[in-house]
Assembly symmetry: C2
Homo-oligomer: 474 residues x 2
């Protein structure tokens, strides 16, 4: 097959707003879309086209790089460059393509795709998208110069005030807006705490099993994570005190332990606070889903019991709104406000003004409180139907933990089946699950699956998905 005539041969328009590379790119795309260029057709080499159009080589390279990056063309070495043989139409800008199931580059703990049982996601089908789009459009139209400059690095004052007020009511936390810092997510929160209060070589208690990214991030910052076992009352605080009394901090998930969903008992909460007070140590309360408790009212936060100012409270909008927002927050003790202000000035750049303005409006106009209430009811239902559906199908092969809250089910596999093997098989089959073994720090096998239920819409769906798991078990 010889090279077809390039669709870009018509003279380019130097007066057009679009730069040349973009015009070339557009013409190739149009030619492919119209069928003038077909999958498998060879296109001119960049060198040939450069000569032909009398443009800089870099211009052609840029157009080709963009076409290749978006999958329109492929370089085939000696064979030249061709239109991608199995080319499929692309989705528009605002919706990047769903990674396919076989995409093994998807990281374990934060896939950017959506698979059945995926953990850590709110119910995407029930997010009030229209209200959100309306508020967003309104903030965009109202944008003034002051909204265009560097955002305040501690967070928008209005958002900090809304968060402080919300925490008072919802989590029993008494704090001023000055104690609230807006961050871009839990990792950012932990990094800020480490910059402000910890140093390389410090030891920090973490829960075992526990959220793996916390351990990875601490390791990256040269802080030693000391695993502390978790039982049905949460972290075994007394054991931690015996083993490593001089730790500088403890990271805990007292509301629903991540991932076992147990709550830290009141005696242990008090023991932890007492230890921190005596040792000038810090407690980092990761309250990632404190809102989602189904059997009674949400538990008060550990922070609400903090008389000595030792607790740093980490909250997030990822679970109650959207992960794609990248907005979270940190409440620091009053005595540490100045220290955090200094450090944040140095290391942080603030979060985008627009996202903060939209969330502020969403809270201020009552949508936030309503949304959380709706989701609490919805998740209680979805938990119920997911558990029922899976139990119907999987029967005695699994035991599902009773649990008061959270966003995932805990499936104990009977008969010592490897959770890691089953998870790998499920991923291959387009199902999401995490192996509790991957949340342990000692490499032990736990024979337990973690399954997100927030996006399972009915018992029928759960049964259908359960049958796929059953097939993989046999």
């Amino acid at each position: 097959m010889t090279a077809v005539n390039p669709p870009s041969i018509a003279p380019l328009d130097p007066a057009a707003g679009d730069p040349f590379y973009r015009q070339i790119y557009d013409r190739f795309r149009a030619a492919i879309a119209s069928g003038a260029l077909k999958p498998g057709d060879r296109i001119p080499s960049a060198r040939a086209l450069t000569r032909e159009l009398g443009l800089a080589r870099g211009t052609i390279d840029a157009a080709y790089a963009l076409l290749a990056a978006e999958g329109y063309i492929q370089a085939r070495g000696q064979a030249g460059t061709i239109v991608t043989p199995d080319l499929k139409p692309r989705v528009p800008v605002a919706s990047p393509p769903l990674p396919t199931v076989g995409d093994t580059a998807v990281p374990s703990f934060r896939p950017d795709s959506i698979l059945p049982f995926q953990m850590g996601l709110p119910a995407l089908d029930e997010f009030p998208r229209k209200i959100w789009a309306r508020l967003g459009a309104r903030c965009l139209r109202a944008m003034q110069p002051v909204d265009m400059v560097h955002p305040p690095v501690y967070g928008l004052p209005a958002l900090r005030a809304e968060i402080a007020a919300y925490l008072q009511v919802a989590r029993g936390i008494n704090c001023s807006p000055a104690q609230v810092f807006v961050t871009s997510g839990f990792r950012h929160t932990i990094a800020l705490i480490a910059h402000a209060l910890l140093k390389a070589g410090d030891r920090v208690w973490v829960e075992a099993p526990g959220y793996p990214p916390t351990r990875e991030l601490l390791a990256q910052m040269k802080i030693a994570a000391v695993p502390v076992p978790v039982d049905r009352d949460g972290m075994r605080v007394a054991e931690a005190i015996r083993a490593v009394p001089r730790a500088r901090a403890a990271v805990v998930t007292p509301g629903h332990q991540s991932p076992t969903c147990v709550s830290l008992s009141l005696p242990r909460r008090l023991a932890l606070l007492d230890w921190a007070g005596r040792n000038d140590a810090w407690i980092i309360e990761d309250d990632y889903d404190g809102e989602y408790r189904y059997v009674s009212r949400p538990l008060p936060s550990l922070k609400s019991l903090d008389r000595d100012g030792r607790v740093l409270y980490a909250g997030t909008f990822s679970k109650v709104l959207l992960p794609s927002l990248r907005l979270a927050y940190l409440v620091v003790p009053e005595s540490q406000v100045e220290r955090f202000e200094q450090v944040i000035q140095i290391v942080a750049g603030g979060s985008p003004e627009l996202m903060q303005a939209v969330v502020t409006a969403f809270i201020r106009e009552g949508h936030f409180a309503r949304h959380i209430q709706r989701m609490r009811r919805l998740y209680a239902e979805r938990r119920e139907v997911t558990a029922a559906g899976l139990e119907n199908v999987l029967g005695k092969r699994v035991r599902i933990d009773e649990q008061p809250g959270g966003m995932h089910l805990i499936l104990r596999l009977q008969g010592q089946q490897s959770d890691r093997h089953l998870v790998a098989a499920m991923r291959k089959d387009g199902l999401y699950a995490e192996a509790l073994s991957d949340w342990m720090s000692d490499g032990e096998e736990a024979s337990t699956l973690l399954l997100g239920f927030t996006n399972v819409d009915s018992q029928a769906t759960a049964e259908r998905l359960g049958k796929r798991i059953l097939n993989l078990m046999e």
Copy 2:
């Protein structure tokens, strides 16, 4: 004055979507707006209102905290809580109030206000707000579940491809989208580089004078910044090699040195690349405003000369679009892609999907290229009229550097006047300036002002502002 009847005394509505604290807050606000409560009026104590309404104390505290945070009420100790005496109407959510001039909490290098001569801002009056709002609203309406989950931590693939294509044309950089990582700003970029390639105790060359936040951030990460003098050809590379040959990296601003606006000469670029190649050291090219050169075409980047894969290229959308976006990017050598992918998985959470989608659409539809071209012309004009206006008024008291590009003027004060004192006086008078002395690393006095010109709209404005400076000089 006795406490007035609280406007919240009418029964609250438990069925309303708004939580109680919000209903109380709303009623107080309405009462203040209607004049039922006047500035200076005393309102009931939280305790009294708690009793009266039969609600939890926390509910009332939350409402009062929000009212106080937003400036409606003030606690006056024994005198109780009153409606703020000099209360002024507030601006809506999307437009937080402009900090007043006397606000001394505004940090030097990143004020979140807008003052005449403020540095580091694009021309806010000329930003295509309508197009931006339209694209933003479109992305919001098009939001699909895949746009709501965790964004890809390396950046949206479409945006990475657009950045790679743009850099090819605009900055002569030949890179694949996989080498491009989207970050939330220059600080984030530097932190990622430090996490991936540096360790505590490493030494890094920085320019003197140079951008102070770079030095502060390195110090926070326990990396030793080694100041290297800058002359009219940029960083004195030979001197740096003699003094600290074993440095692990160099941070340079080769296009327009920050803040002297000189360009790094070709021989020094080559010497720097040669040093890095021989020593396996890294060059961090901070190309914060490479687009804005007025005397000829933008210089190619240092990265475009990088044969050995030693240059990390840091770009940003803050100067060419908006600082409030919090979007920047980093191009890493091909050999380091995997290392950065690992580190970013651990330490970063990605940037908000929406902001990335809007920028992608803005580039893809040609607005970006047009905007940069327009701004290049506009800034050349504004530089000209600002310099002319100031020279007219200040005459021989100052000498303004000739410079090929950049976004600020360099005013050499004649007669050894202290730039720090003059800057302090200007800030008090509501004018912005930075003292070159604050960009030196040795505490020396430089007698030189840095003045942003991008938001000075005419020579008349420059003369008016120049007269205010003149008054302060005398």
